[in-house]
Amino acid sequence: MALLEVKDLEVEFPLGRITLQAIRKVSFSLEKGERLGIVGESGAGKSVAAFSILNLLSRPGRISGGEILFEGDDISKFDDRQMRSIRGNRISMIFQDPMMTLNPVLTVATQMIECLKAHRKISKKEAWDISVSKLKEVMIPSPEERMESYPHELSGGMRQRVVIAMALLTDPEIIIADEPTTALDVTIQAEIMVLMLDLCKSNNVGLILITHDLAVVSQVTERIMVMYAGRVVEEGGTKEVITNPKHPYTRGLLKALPQENTAGSRLNQIRGTMPSLNALPKGCAFNPRCDFATKECHQVVPKLEGRDGHNTACIHLEKIPSFKSELGNQ
């Protein structure tokens, strides 16, 4: 049994007369210690999918279908009290902007100890010691002194380290990280990514990494899930999907990045923009932007299927040339 199993998840946002379906029939699972990347552009539903695991959907969003099994229990049916024993304890979360995550008027120590005492029956002294050891783990220099700091006294990279240390406080089984390095500079991003990778490996913690950066995903995760307009369009081993993408959208994303030895030439763009959720095209949501679309694509929603754990939701797979030959032809 997988540690976390999401089955046919549906999330909707009822907004007066209309209801937006943000997530449609999304399924994925995570084994203990596994690292999964969820990629896609803004509005694809990747954050909503991850937030719904911890029931952190902002109102009026709600899970309208499917199951979220954590060690076999459907946590989507849990009430607030039951959820609190999971959220921030066994599954913790790292958000994009560390300044928004940390309380600006409390010291690092107050926030870390508060978090520990909410989940464990321990003394303040013990909580302090655990907090310091976690700050050491994320390589914060002179952790005892930093415990007394306020968030504004730390740099962006240091703040994100503190947030990671807080996520690790209760030795969770899974960490969900939503764009954890997007707000950081490239050199700091590299440091934080190495740190997260090492910590997940050494503590055998599962990671769900949400990002729009394919390069970051390829460095950190073992499996990858590509989302478009609320559905999963492709999933598989990270290396396999990056080197041999099958879905036209995944290919479009990869081709839009500057390639080697093509300096100065035009980049490959995906035409158009992602449709808004209240005006999704019929059939495959990608069809207006797809070079391979036919009449059939406007009628059926393609199923996610494939072999050897590499699944794609596209009915024209056999028509699409291999990615390498296509790149070579340009």
Partner: protein, 329 residues
């Protein structure tokens, strides 16, 4: 066109920029932030000159200083041989139309109360006083089409458009007066990957058709490699390396450039393998003595802590580093 062929289009000479006055008589002390220290660059016609560096290194300040949004505290800025930083607003007017700017956030840089047509007509109404209504309308349409926008967008408001479309409207606004020189401050970093490609293509098309010169500010080095012709790497208000893009990516010389390039995430399966720098970027309020990079540099010695290096020719690149000069890197 004035200026001889060997005059660079834009010449930045020993520019310094400080913010804050250090506190005067009877006022509370305001710390002085040294945002730019002795920066000299020259941008040739047709260049796609890229400025890279991390947050707080002064790249945006430099761009704003060149375009005239911040006057420099010291130093000179020349445009085709004419000094422009000391001109009055009126004397500067003819230069303003030749130099335009595209901002980072297309949600903030377009006035939400103006229609797209009003936004695009405004520069013509200011700089082309005699232009007829028909001619203005025609010009707006022509520029809209050239950046891939539907001319029928005219009566609509910015909030009706997506980020990529808005950024194309900002590009159209910058192109309305047929400028020679466009400063683009992180024009694509607020956009999604597939939209980044669209906007970058529009900018490359415009350069080709209109013979533009770009000063392009970004923190995304893979974009620099693709788009740029020359690149200046900045650290804490100082230019530490200046080179042709190809030379810089083939063989970065300055220790900071090396660390920066190694931190670009790659997709070739090599994993994360970057050069670790010790410590953090110091604040610009309290610059280190000597070379600003020395507290984090693995090659730093006594001389680096004491003297400030200047940009010097070094093979194909210019570097400001004693360690490179002395062959210690």
């Amino acid at each position: 066109m004035t200026g001889s062929s060997d005059t660079p289009l834009v010449n930045i000479l020993n520019v310094e920029k400080t913010f804050g006055d250090g506190g005067g008589f009877l006022s509370t002390a305001q710390p002085i932030v040294k945002a730019l220290n002795n920066v000299s660059l020259s941008i040739e016609k047709g260049d796609s000159f890229c400025l890279v560096g991390e947050s707080g290194c002064g790249k945006s300040t430099l761009a704003r200083t060149v375009i005239g949004l911040n006057p420099p505290s010291k130093g000179e800025i020349h445009y085709q041989g004419t000094r422009i930083d000391s001109l009055s607003a009126k004397e500067r007017q003819p230069f303003k139309r030749k130099m335009q700017m595209i901002f980072q956030n297309p949600y903030a840089s377009l006035n939400p109360r103006m229609t797209v047509a009003q936004i695009l007509e405004e520069p013509l109404k200011i700089h082309e006083k005699g232009m007829s209504k028909g001619a203005i309308k025609q010009k707006v349409e022509e520029v809209m089409v050239s950046v891939g926008n539907d001319p029928a967008w005219g009566p609509r408001y910015p909030h009706e458009f997506s980020g990529g479309q808005r950024q194309r409207i900002s590009i159209a606004r910058a192109l309305m007066l047929d400028p020679e020189f466009v400063v683009a401050d992180e024009p694509i970093s607020a956009l999604d990957v597939s939209i980044q490609a669209q906007v970058l293509n529009v900018m490359m098309d415009a350069q080709e058709k209109r013979n533009l010169t770009y000063l392009f500010i970004t923190h995304d080095l893979s974009i620099v490699e693709h788009f740029g012709s020359k690149v200046a790497v900045m650290y804490l208000g100082t230019v530490c390396e200046l080179a042709d893009v190809k030379d810089l990516f083939d063989a970065p010389r300055h220790p900071y450039t090396q660390a920066l390039l190694s931190a670009i995430p790659k997709m070739d399966g090599s994993g994360v393998n970057h050069i670790k720098m010790s410590g953090e970027v110091p604040t610009a309020m309290d610059l280190p003595s000597g070379c600003v990079f020395h507290p984090r540099c693995p090659y730093a010695n006594e001389r680096c802590r004491r003297d400030i290096p200047t940009l010097a020719d070094n093979g194909n690149t210019k570097t400001a580093c004693f360690a490179v000069e002395e062959g210690r890197v």
